[in-house]
Structure formats: structure tokens, C-alpha cells
Symmetry: C2
Subunit: 567 residues, 2 copies
């Protein structure tokens, strides 16, 4: 890197500190943030988090998972000094394993976060080995030109680490996901004096969680939730099932402690929960003595003697709770009068799926308790008073609201301005913000989504998902015609209809509508012109689409294959 | 009808009063209720409401609207004495026009409800004429053996009419959708003495709204909402846009009154709003002098001088607000600092669509105000204290919770039992309840959903929607092969791939994967056996699916057309 020329000619910009999100600001749901330092043509980069998000049904048919399109940094891979993970939620770490081969940079994570990543790697990594550097809680380490200091903050998972990033251009405080919680159960409360000290040292820029920027006040504490759940389980007469995000170790501990207190056995169902419990025991968040019964023991226990902790709180169709609700679980069944506690909140888009499972449970006769009935869940993100407190501690010159859709980013930006912050950048994915010197939006990075489609990763703008979306609306008709070189029709034209209504309003077969359109067209094209198979194909295609459109009101995808036979 | 034999032989049941929902109780979202009276083999029926519901994206691809499958009553059409409409919401009346040709019974509705139905008929009815009997508010009329008395109750639309249904077997009170509102703005408050008088007369069965059976307390009044919206608009500095359910005439009046008070012009955008306003003026819910500016005037007005009332509160992609948010509306544009009030609540399943539009508005720089920020919306359904009050007025012997998913029905049933009701039937769609004598579930009616697919109505269990769902997950490959009678392959086999990834992970064309599988299979089948085209087709189909599955991890729909040519 050429160190000279700094502050040189007017046209050449000197070394800059920049920030850009490849996801997490606006449309692209997963979190991937990049900090760059250096001259414009020679930046070194640090990635913070690399998560996944989930598809939106009808818009992304047949897709399991969505990953960030990281081609911007992939092209600059040699300058990527490292990937720092703030915490183990899937929207922050879920894409690391699949995308690492495109990035090949060292990974930094605290023990629990690293443990979760390694557990997933063992299950899905197909022998891939990742250079995971396990760093201590509140530790310090260098990633290229970035001096990183971790600052543990409360969140709904252990070891959420904010980053104090010191650079020659100033310090950035990247909050990750956080809340203020005086009694967070299994981790320490916010260390106010440490955050104040950072503010005293002088923070150039705060990059901060916007999830709850609409919500006034302060969130309840995880301990309040624990107390409420404990009371509810104590009062229950039949079986109690609790479903929560599997990574919420504090919630797992609450349920386990209450089970012990009330003389009930704890049964745990769902692979994701088993994995989290194993990692939490390894890293000391659950005691080495932590025990639970396997799901096969469930049916032996009296109704009064069991608390079930299970996956499926987001309506996932293959998770334990969905199978229990459908009365299809191999080991577990609930019955009239049993209590199901939803210690969770539906992620937007999952409401219908959650509702369907709750309806099935209601049909069985289970009593349901959700966060609208009692304090059985609390968000892990800061409400507006918590944000204000963070601003008072950190006193940043520049703010970039992060982690939210456009409306959350805007609401957070308005609050930052109210708090007197000089430069507020409510930017969206791909907008490159120069944090110093002279804060400004300076450039654009390409961003997008990668679909995991079966085993393949496919860029969003590529065809198959778009094609399937179209098929899902209008179906398809494929026609095949055999012609001789001379243009004679050989054999019978054939057609396949899929996803198209079988009958017209008059009760005619749609298949016949298609065959009539083919025959009519072939008859109308003189044999001579039939020597041009493309023309025949196009004429038939139009005729079939029009004929089906007439009786259906929708035009299917139509493809015509003409085989030319030497005879 | 055979009147003899009543109370005769033990095996023959006498005249009975029965109730069944063809939608509205559980899974099937729209409301269609039937009351039957008479001996089991000779019942006369009255239908109450006949609504539509909307599809759930990925599960119902390509579907615009879902109607109830009414074949149960269609088969007994001669015994259907009439269709009574409680109010003009689409989930109660939306299927009347399309299904009437299958039912052909007289329709009874109050002036506003009839007006809304006629307005829709004029727009979409294609010349169909319906026998609509306009009955007065709180009027009495007979429908076969049912003596119906309308009882107006407050709801989020004018003229919601509960039905006191007197029969020889006792009186049923069918609430429709209702709330208790002391100050409902444009209609009268609940007439307590009249409901008490019904209770004094003796009500056999209460069939009652369950929508808000989870929510404790009493809903705020429509007037509270009006006051809040008025204050907000008074305080606004730029343009104000309000979006609400188009049928909420009270809300329309609030916005119009506030516009006048604050010296702003009212602009109305969206056909559904225009239609409701016309009907409301005709029926006296808005004054004859009601005026608003056409959307073309919007751009002439100073920002401080306009209130826009627009459709699109549920995220509908073609409604006014969606086009404004996308900056694609021909006449209306909003800008940074303008205020958009969501005077509505997202219907479950619409959250994502609403959020997308709110994000677009935030990106423009609009300020958003929703019902989580201020009292700008209130539900039209009774909370638990309102339900309790209804039970105290009506004092029914039997209760059937209506209008809700299974979990709402269950919660309502529990409340009814708490209120001391003897017989509570938390039944679901299709379960036939005998209300008298000896209340019991006695039978099942076939129920289901009809999809409006283009211009056709298709029963749910029929193929095309299921086929399209499959296509949307895995795409399709169609292969065509020409064989001679002797089993020779003529010309080149061809293939079409749609919705299938174009490349493998190794960068090979998927098309070549398919062609290789076809060629390999054809080579492996001896010419002699190729004389059986079905065997060839099946072998190729399997090979193609397996080959694509190997590299993709998903197996597409695969169809093979074999043409046999005389050569």
C-alpha cells in the first residue's frame, strides 16, 4: 500500500474510514456490515457478521434460505482482513459457512458464538474447516488496520459483543443487537461506566440497532419474564409446553429451573434446542449438571409431572411443535387442558404459519398463552428510552442507524437528530458512507440476495425463481409437433398442461381447447411455410395462449417444441 | 313437506332447528352461515351472509379470491328460502354475486348493504340481476319458517344488523359483527333495553362474534379515534394522507370533517372509496353536500392545504397508496416531511405487504403514524367485557361462538362457560349443530373453498392450484422424443426446462444434464423394447429426474411426450 501522497493533490482523497451494509439496512433482511480504511483505491476491509434471512413465500417460491450477495467484497477478497461475529443469531452468522469459501478470511468470535458456529459446521459443513479465532469476552484484537475491543451487551442470546473499533480516523462503536437489562439472568448487565468511558474517549460514529425504534419506553427485563413464566407453570394443572427461540439460553434456564422447582421433569424436543443446550453447557451458561429427559420418555410421565420445551415457535412446519399440533409427533402428544406457552413473538411474515399451529392446538383443546396474554416474552432490542441512554453514554458525532427496514431506519434517524447528533445517515444497503474525514455518502456497492435453491446458490436476478413465480401464477402448456423436412405434420401433435384448469366454464376439457388451437393453426399455415419450424412454433404458441386465455382469463406459459424428422 | 309424524316413532326425529357454518368457523375465512328448520329429511334453510376471503400467497398461487364451497346448500337449493346479509363487508357479502346463480334465492339487506351490493353488481355483474329485497333498519320479515327481526349494532361499517330469528323451536340471536360503542359517530349506540327485552323474552341460542375473544376490556369508541385523528391533522405542517378500510364511513366522515375544520381540501383516491362515498351519500350517512376534489387537483394544492384519503391500507399492490409509495401514481406524489396515517390494522397475513409499502414511504421521507403510535384505529369487534355484557343482556341457553379461527372459537367458548351458559358448542365449519330440541352436534355438511382462478371457479381439491404449487417449488422439465413404429429414435430428442437452475455448481448447463440423461436412457433401452412408448417415456422420466436431482438436490416435475411416427 502506498503510504505517501496522504493529504496530497486536491483531487486525490486521502485515507478514509468507510461503512457499508451488504444487508441489514432496508430490504435485505440479513446482517452483513463492512468497515473499510485506507485510500479509495487501496482499502482494507473488516466484515461484521454474515447472516441469512428467510424467503417470503409467494415471492420466492421453492427457496429455503436467502444469503447476502457478497460479490462486492468477494472481488476485494485479498483486502478482507477478517470477519468479526457479534453474536450467534442466524441473521448474523447463518451465511458464514456457505459463503466462507468465497471470502477465505479469518473469523473472530467469542466462545459461545464460536461454539454455535462449530456445532453447525459439524452438522452441515461437509468437512469444511474454518479459521475460527476464539476471542475472550470483552477482549481486544487487531483486524488489519482496525483495533477491535469487544463490549458485551445484554441481548436474547449469550455473549452479544458490541465492537469499539479504533482506527487512525477515530473510533466507531458498532452496537450489534442489544438492550439495556439490569437483570439479564445469565449474562452481566450493561457496564455503564465502560460505555461512558468510551464516550469520554471520544466516539466518531455510532452504528446502532434500529429494530424497536418505533417503541417508546424501556423493555422489561429477562428476569421479569422468568418470574412470570415461573408463576404460570406453578399454577398449571396439566402438561405445560413452552416454545421459544432455541438460542435464548436464559429462557431455557428459566424453564428448566421452574421445572425443578415444581417437581416436574423437563423434556426437550427439537434438534436446534439440543444443539444450543450442548454449547451452553460447554461454555458455562448452563451448569455441567444440566439434565433433561429425552422425548421418548414423555409418554411415561403423568401430566402433572412434565414441562416440555420445544422448537417451532415461528410456525416452522417441520419443527417439534408443528408435528405435535398435527398429532404426528412420534413421541409427544398433548391433550385437552394442557397449556402451551408461546414464549416468543412471531417474526413479521410468520404470523399466518404460527396462527395455523395455534389453531391446531386449540382444536386439540390445549390452552394457549402468548405474549398478548402475559409477560412471557420480551424483545432483545432497545426501545426509544434505551436508545436515548446509549446516545448519552456514547455522544457520537456521526450516527448510522442499522438493523431494520427503511421505516425503522428513518424513525431511528429522527431520534438521533432529536438527540443532537450532527451527522445522521439513514442509509440503505449498498450506500457507502465515509465516516471520516467529512462524513458523506460517497459511493455505492452492489448488493443483492442469493437464493439457496436445493443445493445450489443462485443470484436473485437469475432466472429460475422468477420462472417459478410465473409458473405458480399461470401454469404451463408444452406442445410438441413433428414435421417432415417438407413441412408435413407427422403423427399427432401432443400437449402437456400443468397448473392450468382442467375444464372450461362450459365443461369442455381444456386439453381439447389446446388441441383445437394447434390443429387450427397448423391447418392455416400452408405446408410450404411449415418448413420454417420457428414460424410454426411461434404461431402455435400464440394461438394456444390466446385460446386458453379466452376461456380462462389468464394466459399460461406456452412452449412449443418442433421436431423435424428426415423421412 | 310432510307435517305428520312429528314426535312419532322413536327412530324418527321430529322438527329440529339446526345451525351450520360453511365458512367462518375455523379454517375457512369467509362467513357463510345456515339455519335449518324442519324434520331431518325436509328442512327449510336460511343463509346468513356469503363472503369471500383472500388467498395465502404460497399456498394458493395465482388465486385472486377464495369463495365458499356451497354445494351442501346448492344440492338443497329448492329449500333455501332466502339469503340475509348482516352488513356489507366483503367477508360477509363478497361471494353473493358470483354464487347467486347456484343458489337463486331472494336476498334481504338494509339500504346501505343493498346499495353496496348493487354498486358492485353494476361494476362486475355482467348484466346479472339479483332479487334484492331492501328491508328497513330494525325491520321484521319472514324467510320461510324464520321470523327475522333486525337489530342494528355498532360496527366499523353502517347498518350492521344482528338477527333475532324466531322459530317454533325458540329464538336465536345471531350477532353478526358488533361492538359496544356509546358514541359510534354515524349510527346509533347499542340499544340496551332492546337487547335486554330479547333476553327477557327468552333466547334459546346466541351465535356470537369471536374475533377479539383474546382481548380483555372494552374497545375504545369510534369517537375517540375521530378526536385523535383530528388533533393529529390539526398539528400537521405538510400534506396529510390517511388510509383506512374503504367501507369505514365514520372514518371517512372524520377525515372530511377535519379537513374542513383545518381549511384543507379533501382529495379522495381509490375506486373503492368513491363507491362507498356514493352509497353513503345515497343512504344518508354522508350529507348530500359532501364534496371532495378529484385526484387530478392534488398537484395544484399547497402542501398545507390538502388531506388525502386513499385506499391501500392492507398493502394491496394496485391500490392508490401502493402506487404513491412506488412513486408511480399518475396524479399524486408525497414528499419528505408529509404525514401518512394508517387508520387501520393489518389483517393477519398482510403484515409483510403493508410493511413493504411503509418502507417505500419511509424512503421518500414521509412520516408514518400507525395504531401503535396513536389512537388512529379501533377494531369493530367486541372484547371480552363487551362479550360478557352481551351474555348478561341475552342470557342464552346455548352458545355457538362464530367468526374466528379455532383458537378464537375456543377462547370464546371458555368465556361462555364462565358466564354460566349451559350448552356451548365450539364447532368448526361443517359441523351441524342441533340447537333444539336437545342441543347436540348431529351431522356434518361438506365444506371447502372455491378458488377464483382467472375467470373460472375451481374447487380446492381440483388439480391446477396444487399443480402450480408443485411447479413453484421444483419447476418442470418436458422432454419430447419421436420414435418410429419400429422403435427407432427419429430426429433429436428435445427438452424444455422452466423454473430449474440454468447451471450446476460446476458451471455445466442443466440443459446438457437433461440431454445426457435422455441419450443415456435411450441407448440403454434396446430398439425392440422402444416399441412400447410408455416404457420409454417412464424410463426417460426417471432418468431425467434423477440426473437433475443429483446436481440440484431437488427433483423437478418431469413429463415425457413420445410421438410415434409412421415412416
Amino acid at each position: 500500500m502506498n503510504e505517501k501522497g496522504c493529504g496530497g493533490g486536491r483531487k486525490k482523497r486521502g485515507k478514509e474510514l468507510v461503512f457499508v451494509a451488504l444487508g441489514g439496512l432496508g430490504e435485505i433482511g440479513m446482517n452483513v456490515y463492512l468497515y473499510g480504511y485506507g485510500r479509495q483505491d487501496a482499502r482494507q476491509w473488516m466484515m461484521v457478521d454474515c447472516g441469512i434471512t428467510f424467503p417470503e413465500g409467494e415471492n420466492d417460491p421453492g427457496i429455503d434460505v436467502i444469503l447476502p450477495d457478497v460479490r462486492f467484497i468477494e472481488e476485494n477478497r485479498a483486502d478482507l482482513a477478517g470477519i468479526v461475529l457479534t453474536h450467534a443469531h442466524e441473521d448474523h452468522v447463518g451465511a458464514v459457512i456457505e459463503l466462507w469459501p468465497r471470502l477465505k478470511a479469518p473469523i473472530y468470535a467469542t466462545p459461545f458464538t464460536a461454539g454455535m458456529l462449530k456445532a453447525k459446521l459439524a452438522e452441515y459443513g461437509r468437512g469444511l474447516e474454518l479459521p475460527i479465532h476464539v476471542v475472550p469476552l470483552d477482549g481486544k484484537f487487531a483486524v488489519g488496520p482496525f483495533d477491535v475491543e469487544l463490549v458485551t451487551l445484554p441481548h436474547s442470546i449469550p455473549e452479544m459483543s458490541a465492537l469499539a473499533i479504533r482506527t487512525p480516523a477515530g473510533m466507531v462503536f458498532h452496537t450489534g443487537d442489544w438492550k439495556i437489562d439490569e437483570t439479564p439472568m445469565i449474562t452481566e448487565p450493561v457496564d455503564e461506566s465502560r460505555l461512558s468511558a468510551l464516550g469520554d474517549e471520544g466516539v466518531l460514529a455510532l452504528v446502532c440497532d434500529s429494530t424497536n425504534a418505533f417503541r417508546e419506553g424501556t423493555s422489561p427485563s429477562e428476569s421479569d419474564v422468568a418470574q412470570s413464566i415461573t408463576e404460570i407453570i406453578k399454577g398449571a394443572k396439566g402438561r405445560v409446553a413452552v416454545t421459544c427461540f432455541s438460542s435464548n439460553v436464559a429462557r431455557i434456564k428459566t424453564v428448566a429451573d421452574t421445572a425443578r422447582e415444581t417437581g416436574r421433569h423437563l423434556v426437550v424436543a427439537g434438534r436446534a434446542l439440543h444443539r444450543v443446550i450442548d454449547v451452553a453447557i460447554d461454555t458455562g451458561y448452563l451448569p455441567q449438571s444440566f439434565r433433561y429427559l429425552d422425548q421418548d420418555r414423555f409418554s411415561d410421565l403423568a401430566r402433572r409431572d412434565v414441562v416440555l420445551l420445544c422448537t417451532g415457535s415461528q410456525g416452522e412446519p417441520r419443527a417439534a411443535l408443528a408435528r405435535i399440533a398435527a398429532e404426528e409427533h412420534p413421541a409427544i402428544s398433548l391433550a385437552k387442558g394442557d397449556l402451551v406457552i408461546y414464549s416468543t413473538r412471531a417474526i413479521p411474515g410468520n404470523e399466518k404459519a404460527v396462527g395455523r399451529i395455534q389453531n391446531s392446538l386449540a382444536r386439540i383443546g390445549c390452552n394457549l398463552l402468548t405474549d398478548s396474554d402475559a409477560l412471557v416474552h420480551v424483545s432483545g432490542h432497545p426501545r426509544r428510552d434505551e436508545l436515548r441512554q446509549m446516545y448519552r453514554w456514547i455522544r457520537p458525532e456521526v450516527v448510522v442507524p442499522m438493523h431494520g427496514e427503511a421505516r425503522h431506519i428513518q424513525a431511528h434517524a429522527a431520534l438521533a437528530r432529536e438527540m443532537g447528533v450532527r451527522d445522521v445517515f439513514p442509509v440503505l444497503d449498498g450506500e457507502i458512507v465515509r465516516l471520516a474525514p467529512e462524513p458523506a455518502v460517497v459511493d455505492d456497492a452492489p448488493v443483492g440476495r442469493l437464493f439457496r435453491d436445493g443445493r445450489l446458490l443462485i443470484a436473485e436476478y437469475d432466472g429460475p425463481v422468477r420462472e417459478r413465480r410465473k409458473l405458480s401464477y399461470v401454469g404451463i402448456v408444452v406442445v410438441t409437433i413433428c414435421l417432415s423436412r417438407g413441412g408435413e405434420v407427422l403423427g399427432e401433435p401432443q400437449a402437456i398442461l400443468d397448473g392450468v384448469p382442467h375444464e372450461t366454464a362450459d365443461g369442455d376439457a381444456m386439453f381439447d381447447v389446446v388441441l383445437d388451437a394447434i390443429d387450427g393453426t397448423l391447418r392455416s399455415v400452408p405446408t410450404k411455410r411449415r418448413k420454417a419450424p420457428d414460424l410454426v412454433a411461434e404461431a402455435v404458441r400464440r394461438a394456444v395462449r390466446a385460446a386458453v386465455g379466452d376461456v380462462w382469463g389468464k394466459k399460461p406459459v406456452c412452449k412449443v417444441l418442433v421436431s423435424v424428422i428426415d423421412n
